[in-house]
Every structure is written in structure tokens, then in C-alpha cells.
Symmetry: C2
Subunit: 361 residues, 2 copies
Amino acid sequence: MKTIKVELGERAYSIHIGDGLLLRGDLIGPHIGGTQVMVVTNEVVAPLYLDTLVSTLTDFDCHSLVLPDGESFKNIEVLNSIFDALLERRFTRDSTLVALGGGVVGDITGFAAACYQRGVAHLQVPTTLLAQVDSSVGGKTAVNHRLGKNMIGAFHQPSCVLADTATLKSLPSREFRAGLAEVIKYGLIRDPEFFQWLETNIGATLDLEPEALSLIIERSCRNKAEVVAEDERESGARALLNFGHTFGHAIETGLGYGTWLHGEAVAAGMCLATSLSARLGWISEEDVRRVEKLLLRAGLPTRPPDALDDARMLELMAVDKKVLGGRTRLVLLEALGRAVVSDDLDPKTLRNTIAHARGAG
Amino acid sequence: MKTIKVELGERAYSIHIGDGLLLRGDLIGPHIGGTQVMVVTNEVVAPLYLDTLVSTLTDFDCHSLVLPDGESFKNIEVLNSIFDALLERRFTRDSTLVALGGGVVGDITGFAAACYQRGVAHLQVPTTLLAQVDSSVGGKTAVNHRLGKNMIGAFHQPSCVLADTATLKSLPSREFRAGLAEVIKYGLIRDPEFFQWLETNIGATLDLEPEALSLIIERSCRNKAEVVAEDERESGARALLNFGHTFGHAIETGLGYGTWLHGEAVAAGMCLATSLSARLGWISEEDVRRVEKLLLRAGLPTRPPDALDDARMLELMAVDKKVLGGRTRLVLLEALGRAVVSDDLDPKTLRNTIAHARGAG
């Protein structure tokens, strides 16, 4: 087992990574303040891992709640069903919520913990690669609103994150590959050595070799933990984690959520951001080819979907930008392994980059 | 104008108290980060003060939202209507919410600010005595759930509180008197000199003499600010602010919300807690009479309502306690002006106190 500390003063916590951690009551127990525990999961994960986790928590008054599966259920109504369950069972202010599942379960459970009686403790037990390397770490919680993704939420750090690599064996291959997009992202934005490691070891990773899995999760979490420790509430450096995401969100919204997975849209978005960086002369065409090659080997898309035309894509990006502050704001690369926020982008350069991406690929 | 600072480090803010502050753009402007402002108010307050406040904010892109009036609308559905309004008008992360109204408007608007895009700034402009001396200060925000009051919420401090004493002239007398219950509470729990001042000046206060009004609001806010600075998230000293409230909540729930005003229920609750303290030998019967006399002069109830029998009252208090942690926990007086939390109360003493209160009065 490996352990990474997220250094946030009185809100500091550990991320444990290893095989079989769902059985480790010794890791979970110390983070449960009172006696009441509510494990929140979904209908896909419950049959696989809920009994195991509940049997690990027999020392506590352990309840569980199974939500419907999917991004479309990450909304205020389902959030309210968590509050119903907690209040019907008279959960007190010293109770603990445990999120067992992927990003949707983690986000909505974390937000429920942030608001229930003005804040109770919660643990994250992510069961997808995306959640293990990204969404379970850093305290961003939210639900969607019909007018925007993650628009209602809170910063609420977990007491502990338990990434059991054994759960990845049951993950569909497409979802695993989508998670790899965020892994590759850490290499691109701040860890050139990790990017090189991935170029050499992407095969072993796709074969789910235990050492490779453990390394990519640890390295990703370490990168994320450092960024979050530096900028908990996203007023600065944390924005770099959005590399590829403005393009990616436009693709997700344009196609309708679920058509492309988040990681797939981010992969295409990272290619666009990389091309744009080259067009500005910040990196070389050779760098662009290295990024595309790695993403292709990971089985990820490297250009925008045909079903979404350039004009619509630019329009959706403008909305995303507007919501983020009204300026043309994108994360770009100064080098492979070093990202920066660019605030004053020429709209024409952006348009040309997207048009050119259609021709390539 | 008087100004009190709530000392909370990077979350520190000022409370301004004075006549005509709704017109003081110079006090409000510096707390508005971006350009977008949403004034949230209700259908009773809007016709009285909304135009005035909006005309003070002409330098900004100022919008307003009028909610239905009453505690029954402090719920997740109405909260969601605030999110709708913000998202439909494309409010960004640097926008500001302004709560113009009483406790309900302040609580729900503060909670909307806590959650919108994971937290935006908000100002409190309280227009009732209760909100000016209590709910607008300290960052407790919430909505009700059908299974409990204030069960869903957040700690989210305002950037500034503006208590315009001129707004109290339009406040119904019964609501003003209910607000006085919380004012008297500060004297009882931690400010014996203020309690004495109130004994002498309750007449001038009820006559709305400007100097008396200014003094009671300032002194109340100063007391609250000190307690909040010491214990922002209610892990210790802040619990003393709940003096009379466990009894009070039982009365409010037992009669149905709105039958007695919150302050009226708290007044009767403070009398019960005071009697109980005397029964334990901590204070004298003379002390009890002083408290009852002041509350009676303020036009407030000093014993539980006839419509609520002892058994039901005790049952409701048990629920309240259970929700708060499972122990018999009450705030009592060691002296007039010094409250403590009592954790191990004999249920029989509690029962006798309530039964005796029926005979008295």
C-alpha cells in the first residue's frame, strides 16, 4: 500500500492506494467520529462491492443507500433523497458518509456531507480510474443544474480517500481508458518525467499490470495533492487541472452527456489545446505528435467529433468561458510538462486550430 | 453609524449599524467583487425597500428576485429558484448576492451564495430586529427539510452586514418584541451589565427611541461577534447562543411553525431554563423573577403555551436532543449574565420544572 498526504492544515488527509483496501477496517475506522455510517453507492457498484465494504464496517451502525446510476441523476432531487435517508434514520452531526463508486457518487455524496446539518465527515472510496486519480481527491463536490454542470456545490474535503486497485478489474475497458486521459493530463501539465514513463509503459498499464496501476494512481494523486495544497479553492494554480476541459465540456454538452465519456472529451480537448500551443509557437509540432500518439495508443480520441460543427463548438466554449468570468481563458502548454493559463487569446487562432484539427487525424 | 468587526481572520467582516444605511452605496460597493449583483428579498419587504436598495446599486449590473414570504418557503425548491435565476442570467463566480429581509431571506440567500458555483460572496441587509441582532451575523445559513428545521445548510460568512435601523419603523410590533427576546438573551448568557441596562431602558426601547435602538443592536452584535470569533463552527462556546432554544424549538414544532413567533417561543424557553437553573440551586428565585419581569415588560410569554401538554413537550425536546447528539444537553445559567452547557441533567428535574411553570405565571 502507498499513502499520499494532502497537505491542507487542519483539513489535511491521506490517500491510501493498494489492492484489497475495501477490507481494511483499520484504515477506515479511525476516520469515523460517531457511530452512524451511511454508505452511498449506485445500482451498478452495489452488487459488486457494497457487501464487502459493509462487512468491513460491522463495528459501526452502518446503513446504505443505493442511487440510480449515471450523470443524469447527479441532481438536486437525488441529493434530497440522501437527506431523506439521513433524517429518517436520525443521523446526527457526528455521523459519517462514505462514497463508494465513481465520480458521480463521489460528487453528490461529498456535497450531501457538506450540507447535512451544515457539514458532516465523509470518506471517498473511488471504484473507477477517473475517480481514483481525479474526482475523489481535492474536495470539489457538486450536483448538476439543468442549466449547467457542477453549478451547485461546495469545497468539502474528505477525511480519507481509499483507492482499492482491485476494483479496477471490474471496470469496463472504455471507462478505464477514459480515466487514462486524466492520468496523461498530469504528465502534460506538470510532470514531464511521468509523461515519458507513460510513453514507455502505456502497454503494461492497459494490461492492468498491478505495479503500473499502482504507479499511475500514486503519481496522479501526488500531482493533484500538490496542486490542491497550493490552491484549495481554485483561485490560481488549480485552474491548470482544467487543461483540455473547456474544449472537453463543449464536446460533452454539444453531443449530449454520455455520448462521449468525460475522459474521451478531455482527450480530444487536450489535443486541441496542444495544437493551439504549437500554433502560438510555444511548443513544437513534434511535441504535438507525441501527445497524439500517446492518446491514440491509450485508445482515446484525438480530434473533435464529426457530429459537432466548428461554429457550435466555439459557441459552447464561449458559454463555458462566460460562466467562468467573461474572458477568453484557456490552459495551454509552454512545454510538454508545463501548463499556463492564457487570458488573452486571439479568437481567430482558436477558430483555425479547431478547423485544422478536422483536416488532421 | 457604528461599526463592529467580526474577527474571523481572512473571513473577517464588518457590521454597520445606523439610520438610512440602505442609501449608503459607499458602504456596499467595496464588497462587490465583479459587476453582477442579485438582490434577493420577499414579497413583503420588496414594496418597502427594494427600489431604494436597487437605486443605491446603479453602478452595478443589479438584478432582483422576490421570494414568497414565510418560514414554509425556506426549502430546497425555493433555493433552487434562486439558482435558476442566477443561471438564467449567467451569473459568474465573481458575482454577489444581497439578502434584503428577515431571517428566512437571510438564511436561504446565504445558503444559495454558499453553494452557487461552490461559493460566491454575499451581503446581509437585515430588515427585522431578529435578523439585525442574530441571524444575519455569524454565517449560519440553511433551509428546512420536511423532517427538521435548518437541517440542510452551510457555514458561509457574509462580506458585510448592513443593519439599517430605519427599517424597524415598518416592522409590526409583535415581530419587534419577538426580536427583543434574542436581545435579552445576550444579557442573560454573557453580558450582565447589558441585562441591567435593559431593565432600566426597556420602555425607551419599546418606544423605538433611536439611541436605544442603536445601542441594543450594537451591543447584541458585539456579543454575537465575540462568540462567533471564538467558535465559528459551533464546536464549543457558540452553543451558549442556544439558551432557551431547545425548549423554544419544542414549542414551535409542537404548535406548528408560525403559531408562536421564534422569539416568543425562545422567551418562554429562557424562562424555563432560568427556572431550571434556580431549581438546581445555581441562581436565586429573585433572579428568576427579574428575568420574568423583563420579558413580561417586553410583551413576551413567560410560560409554555396551554395548547402543548408536558408529555408532548418533553418528547419533542428529546427529538431535538437526539438530533444534536443523543445526550440531555441544555444551556443553563450559573448567574444572570453567565451561561453554561449542562450535559448530565436529571430528567425528573426537567419534568418538574415544566410542570411547575404551568402553575406559576
